[in-house]
């Protein structure tokens, strides 16, 4: 039994965008996140998997502090984004939102034109120059791989687009504010298989320029598109490692049972 060959090692020296330390979260009495410690690297896709109700959405909603809109939520611990604790009261949530975009499960375009959907964020940030806005629209729609499909009908209502197109429009809307991080909560679970693959390919391209954190129910999707995977169970991180490792030789029996479909 001479040689034992370890094939997997993390050789990247990427910076952390987020460092989560001993994060706890309660909805009233419900202890929804328990001692979470997670470091998320830039220019990587980090997948969050786990059965329903394990706290995936709760966790990513703390990363842009959307969670504080819910009454009765209490937190302890720390989430530092680019070195500053965003749970600190002095951290302005508006500053965070210009850096961290979010895409939801159901495409949620505004009932406005395609153009207006994309420029919504930039306009809030005070950009009025038509030429600059035009540029932002083209760049964002190209970035979301939907430009060719909509460039001739930018003034039509976004509701006329297919579900998959609407989701890519939402990604474009998110890119328009030039974020640093994109959070995605089950972004393809309402999409057909082809639209799903398009969004997956898009995620691969986007990670060149952004850091992406994606919650997914689809384990094959996590395996296909992510660099690292965190497995959540009942509010805890059971295992966080390279996706290759998680889907080949997970360390924890519970992770193995979950990814092989033995529960969840």
């Amino acid at each position: 039994m001479a040689s034992v060959i370890e094939h997997i090692s993390d050789e990247t020296n990427r910076e952390n965008v987020y460092k989560t330390k001993e994060l706890n979260l309660w909805y009233g009495e419900n202890h929804a996140l328990k001692n979470i410690n997670l470091d998320i690297n830039e220019n990587e896709v980090t997948a969050i998997i786990g059965p329903s109700g394990c706290g995936k959405s709760t966790y990513i909603k703390t990363l842009n502090r959307m969670i504080e809109l819910i009454p009765g939520v209490k937190t302890s611990g720390e989430i530092s984004y680019r070195g500053r604790n965003i749970l600190d009261r002095s951290y302005k949530v508006e500053d965070l939102r210009t850096k961290v975009g979010m895409v939801f499960q159901k495409p949620n375009p505004f009932p406005k034109s395609i153009y207006e959907n994309v420029v919504y964020g930039p306009k809030i940030h005070g950009i009025r120059d038509k030429k600059i806005l035009d540029e932002i629209v083209e760049k964002s729609l190209k970035g979301a791989a939907i430009w060719d499909e909509v460039k001739d009908r930018l003034n039509q209502n976004a509701y006329g687009l297919s579900g998959g197109q609407q989701q890519r429009l939402c990604i474009a809307r998110c890119l328009a504010i030039e974020p640093d991080v994109i959070l995605m909560d089950e972004p393809t679970s309402a999409l057909d298989p082809i639209s799903t693959l398009k969004v997956e390919e898009l995620v691969q391209e986007l990670k060149q320029n952004f850091s992406i954190i994606i919650v997914t129910h689809n384990m094959q999707q996590a395996a296909r598109i992510s660099d690292k995977t965190a497995f959540f169970l009942s509010g805890e991180v059971i295992e966080f490692n390279l996706t290759n490792k998680i889907f080949s030789t997970p360390s924890d029996k519970r992770t193995e049972d979950y990814i092989t479909g033995r529960f969840g």
Binding site: A2, V4, I5, F247, T249, I259, T260, R262, F263
Partner: protein
């Protein structure tokens, strides 16, 4: 429906085919040794004819494994179980090829009286048979102790091989007129030694399947 029942039944079918291939190869080796001992050329020819069965079984195992991967998309140990089945099938199919090689040597020896009873060769065969049984059990039962025993037995085969070759070389000096037969008998020993190496490969695959790491049991 129990969770992953479909995967489990399809895996079971794959394992059954692998076991069937294993039994086929054991039988082929056994017949090859019987044919050699009784200098039965007809039986040797029959072994050569029947070998296509092993090739077909191996192909069926590969096809079933591919379908299982496509339909069930297994990961982690579930995936290794299937990948390892493909590898083991290749090893077992090779063992049937060695039976054919032994049969060919038997035909070459023809009816020239054997220079001596083939005691060591039969011992090597016995070890091969037990190793193959154990290695297949170790796969089906995911039993690493059995896998380890297989690799231990390979050491015995190796030392028997060393002894037998030495003996044959000695006879070659004393009775050069039997050189052709001695060459064939040396080949046969070599086949049985190589065949045992394939069982050790199977044991390694089982280690890999269970542990997710590669082990070299052949050294």
């Amino acid at each position: 429906m129990a969770i992953r029942e479909k995967y489990n039944t399809e895996l079971k079918e794959l394992q059954n085919k692998l076991t069937e291939l294993g039994h086929f190869s054991i039988d082929a080796l056994e017949k090859a040794v019987i044919a050699l001992e009784s200098q039965n050329v007809d039986l040797a020819l029959k072994i050569m004819e029947e070998d296509t069965k092993a090739n077909i079984l191996e192909e069926e195992i590969n096809d079933a494994a591919m379908l299982l991967i496509a339909k069930q998309q297994p990961v982690a140990i579930d995936l290794r179980r299937v990948i390892v089945a493909i590898k083991i099938a290749t090893d077992i199919e090779r063992i049937a090829d060695f039976a054919v090689n032994i049969a060919k040597s038997t035909i070459r020896i023809g009816n020239e009286p054997l220079i001596k009873p083939i005691v060591h060769i039969k011992k090597m065969y016995d070890l091969n048979r037990d190793m193959l049984r154990l290695s297949i059990e170790s796969y089906n039962e995911e039993d690493l102790d059995k896998a380890k025993r297989v690799s231990k037995m390979d050491d015995e085969v190796d030392s028997l091989y060393g002894e037998t070759i030495k003996e044959l070389l000695q006879i070659n000096l004393e009775k050069p007129e039997f050189r052709s037969q001695i060459t064939q008998l040396s080949f046969i020993c070599r086949y049985l030694e190589r065949s045992a190496d394939h069982m050790t490969n199977i044991a390694e695959h089982v280690f890999y399947m269970v542990k997710g790491k590669r082990y070299d049991l052949n050294t």
